[in-house]
């Protein structure tokens, strides 16, 4: 970073909140994806005014700014692929206000999801999306990526809870969107435009979140299936039975086998396992729901069905699902965790297609995920130091994206486009939609300083990797 700009940044944030030291530059080069690139420097902002001053400077000097929360994203959104300034927001971590009466919480972007959860617990409330990285991911990151989680089918994703934002635009102007009301149709929904915009349009400096009362009872059941068709039919039947489970998770054959090889859980090696949780406020209510779910399992030739009767049994039933990520993370040196999503009637086809891709590309793909909202996580396992395996991984990813789109699905249900899927944007979005997105980007950020290189917004129209 040149001296003049370094000095200007230090004047804005203070010496202790500026760094260009090697160790910071290396750690800010990465997120949880396979991408990396070093920034020129990083700053920790503590106020919206500081963010505004940083953006004014960067806009004037045409320096990329990459907003960052906890850096747990899985598609390279926080990777400074064109260098520039990493704007770390994790020190803006104040819960500004909790108003149970108004059913909302106002937070700064650096608040960790779990810290809000802890703060809401005494009131019996929660912010429901429950991302798997919730102990570490920040709410700003959740908003920027429109994070989802295990409970998407019943409770939706981050976007369903963001009532309003304070956003700093690339030219430094500070704007408020939305309101503190449960409903508002006043003007364009600018709040939603920023949710999931991956830090390409503005920097979120305050978030108004709708919060929910926390269900106090749950019931849990599990079923195994010998055929993917039966599994698919069971999922569909459950989801239109009138019951919406708070979780409906699936583990595929490869995942079950991997867990068995690496733990002593001794899972049945079947085509698929489904795990369902229902929630509510009385045990009668949740048991009634889970019975319906079990009935649907049975009507679709479930091989084995178990319902948890004790806390320990609940834990046991969840053990396989909870261990999936960790088990798969240990098998090879590298993995890519995808999040393609399809309409629920297409889940069986998606699972079969993934198996076919795995065979065709000679690469191990283990699948699990959120059957209740059609969002699966095929985890492609490979050795990143073997160019041949890297090539096969890339080919398998491309096949997978094409498969999802062919099944009327989407490239990404909850991880975002970032760098990983940037070149596939045109596969999903038609030229008109791409053109509109590029115009929106240009309107907010004419000099392309905010998180450049992401979301395929700069690629030539129609380009597919």
């Amino acid at each position: 970073m040149n001296k003049k700009i370094k000095q200007a940044l230090i004047e804005i944030v203070g010496e202790e909140n500026y760094t260009d030291s090697l160790i910071d530059m290396v750690s800010f080069s990465y997120d949880a994806s396979e991408h990396s690139h070093r920034p020129a420097c990083a700053v920790w902002a503590e106020t919206a005014d500081q963010v505004s001053e940083i953006l004014k400077l960067s806009n004037r000097e045409r320096i990329p700014v990459i907003p960052r929360g906890a850096g747990t994203g899985l598609s390279g959104m926080a990777v400074p692929i064109e260098g520039g300034i990493v704007l770390d927001l994790s020190r803006m971590n104040r819960i500004v206000k909790i108003s149970i009466e108004d059913r909302l919480a106002v937070v700064q972007p650096g608040v960790v999801y779990a810290d809000l959860e802890k703060a809401l617990a005494p009131f019996g409330f929660l912010f429901p999306p429950d991302p798997a990285s919730g102990t570490v991911s920040t709410l700003g990151g959740n908003v920027a990526t429109n994070a989802g989680g295990l409970k998407g089918a019943k409770y939706g994703t981050t976007k369903d809870y963001v009532l309003g934002l304070q956003v700093v635009l690339p030219d430094g102007r500070i704007m408020r969107t939305g309101s503190k009301t449960m409903k508002s149709v006043s003007g364009y929904d600018m709040t939603k435009l920023f949710v999931g915009s991956e830090g390409t349009l503005g920097v979120v400096t305050e978030i108004i979140l709708k919060i929910n009362p926390k269900p106090t009872a749950t019931s849990t059941a599990l079923a195994t299936f010998d055929s993917l068709e039966d599994t698919g039919r069971a999922i569909n039947q459950i989801m239109h039975s009138g019951i919406i489970p708070s979780a409906l998770e699936i583990l595929g054959r490869e995942t079950l086998a991997a867990i068995n090889q690496n733990t002593d859980l001794n899972l049945p090696e079947v085509e698929a396992m489904l795990l369902a949780e229902t929630d509510g406020y009385t045990q009668e209510e949740t048991d009634y729901q889970i019975k319906k779910v079990i009935q649907n399992f049975e009507e679709n030739n479930a091989k084995e069905v178990k319902q948890a009767r004790t806390d320990k049994e609940v834990k046991d039933l969840w053990a396989a699902r909870k261990s999936a990520y960790a088990v798969l993370a240990r098998i090879k040196t590298h993995f890519v965790l995808e999040d393609v999503t399809v309409p629920m009637t297409k889940i069986a086809e998606l699972l079969k297609g993934i198996q076919a891709i795995s065979e065709k590309r000679h690469i191990r793909i283990a699948t699990y995920g959120h059957a209740g909202d059609g969002n699966l996580h095929p985890q492609i396992l490979y050795n990143g130091y073997d160019p041949e395996q890297v090539k096969r991984m890339e080919e398998a990813s491309a096949d997978l994206f094409k498969l999802a789109i062919d099944l009327d699905g989407t490239l990404t249900g909850e991880h975002g486009i970032g760098l990983s899927k940037a070149s596939f944007m045109t596969l999903e979005h038609d030229p008109v939609a791409m053109d509109v997105m590029r115009h929106i980007k240009k309107m907010f950020d004419p000099n392309n300083i905010l998180n450049p290189g992401k979301m395929g917004l700069e690629a030539a129209p129609g380009a597919v990797r």
């Binding site: 770390d88 102990t135 960790a326 993370a329 993995f335």
Partner: protein
């Protein structure tokens, strides 16, 4: 491919298994105090990956992160990929010492132990008003922090052992020097030999340590293997005390801080609680306890090298004690007591003790 560094030979696969998920960030005490991702386990593993890829070298620029880890192992316990971060860090520090890039505090500590018998270079040991090196059933091994910084607590511990009529002796102990293995150096053979000879001369078949780290060193390090070969058992005082009845009670609200060296590193979680429950009717856990206990910030040489951050880590732990309304914070490690006591704010009214000291105080009051 030939590896330039020892750490790579031993831990290459481990380091590559870090999937960069960042879950360690949630539990790293250094990150918690600084909110600086370069200092947590993921940051460290990424830097080491770049070293292995030949992009950077081990050099002075890496000291601030590689030597700023309390080796509390909370990251390892929460790592989906099972990366053994503390072991990797200890090996990297040795490599860094070899290339001449070491934090001056640790270089100094190594030099001190060449010339002196303890890490503080104190030449006049506290005699604790007791005869040393006598024949006895047990040796009580105090450790450097207990001898030179928390001597009041040690005196109380010894009084308690007397009250319980334990047949023990002190020895002219020298630093076990185990800490050197954590900060890039090696245990001093001459110090180990001196301790072993002194222990053997007493005829004791059990060594009770006041310091969990000394206990780990005696139990696990090859330099002290001859103790075990001679059938000598080494236990921490918390393991020893669990069989006693004290016949005293307090109704004060008591909480327990598990030292990393006793908890995550040795799996000793219940023994101290069993003892505390005997004496405290109003026992309460802090939100992060047992294998999730927050580190006090003193370990891995961080207290000496990065005092400000070390105190900040201790403050985070004490905030939890405050949150649960504790009047008494008990722990089982002089380093923890020392660091927590230094970090305590005036508005925080609780007292911090080793369990032994607290029990002794209760017994004294009862007499």
């Amino acid at each position: 491919m030939t590896s330039k560094y020892e750490f790579e030979k031993k831990y290459r696969e481990q380091i590559l298994k870090c999937s960069r998920c960042g879950f360690c960030q949630a539990v790293c005490p250094v990150y918690g105090a600084t909110l600086r991702p370069a200092l947590n386990a993921r940051g460290k593993m990424l830097i080491l990956k770049e070293v292995m890829d030949g992009k950077i070298d081990l050099n002075d620029e890496l000291i601030e992160t590689m030597f700023q880890c309390t080796t509390c192992a909370n990251c390892f316990h929460n790592c989906p990929s099972g990366v053994e971060v503390p072991d990797i860090i200890k090996e990297v520090r040795k490599d860094m010492v070899k290339v001449g890039s070491c934090h001056p505090a640790f270089k100094g500590m190594n030099e001190v132990l060449d010339k002196h018998s303890n890490i503080y270079a104190e030449d006049e040991p506290e005699d604790f008003e007791r005869e040393r090196n006598k024949q006895a059933e047990y040796v009580y091994f105090i450790g450097c922090v207990g001898s030179y910084r928390e001597d009041e607590s040690t005196m109380a511990t010894l009084d308690l052992l007397d009250r319980l009529k334990v047949n023990y002796t002190l020895i002219d102990e020298v630093c076990c020097s185990g800490v050197l293995e954590d900060v890039g150096y090696k245990i001093k053979d001459h110090l180990a030999t001196e301790n072993i000879d002194l222990i053997l001369k007493t005829g004791a078949m059990t060594v009770i340590t006041g310091c969990p780290y000394c206990s780990r060193t005696f139990n696990n390090k090859p330099q002290y293997a001859s103790l075990k070969e001679k059938g000598i058992k080494i236990i921490h005082i918390t393991q020893f005390l669990q069989d006693f009845d004290f016949n005293v009670k307090t109704d004060k609200r008591v909480t327990y801080h598990a030292p990393c060296d006793l908890g995550r590193h040795c799996g000793i979680y219940e023994e101290p609680r069993n003892t505390i429950r005997k004496i405290a009717t109003n026992f309460v856990e802090m939100p992060d306890n047992r294998e999730n206990a927050l580190c006090c910030g003193a370990g891995g040489g961080v207290r000496g090298a990065y005092a400000k951050n070390s105190i900040a880590m201790a403050r985070r732990r004490l905030e939890q004690a405050e949150e649960v309304g504790a009047e008494v914070v008990l722990t089982e490690c002089n380093s923890c007591v020392h660091n927590l006591a230094n970090a305590k704010l005036r508005k925080q009214k609780f007292k911090i003790y080793n369990t032994t000291e607290f029990i002794n105080e209760l017994m004294e009051e009862a007499e």
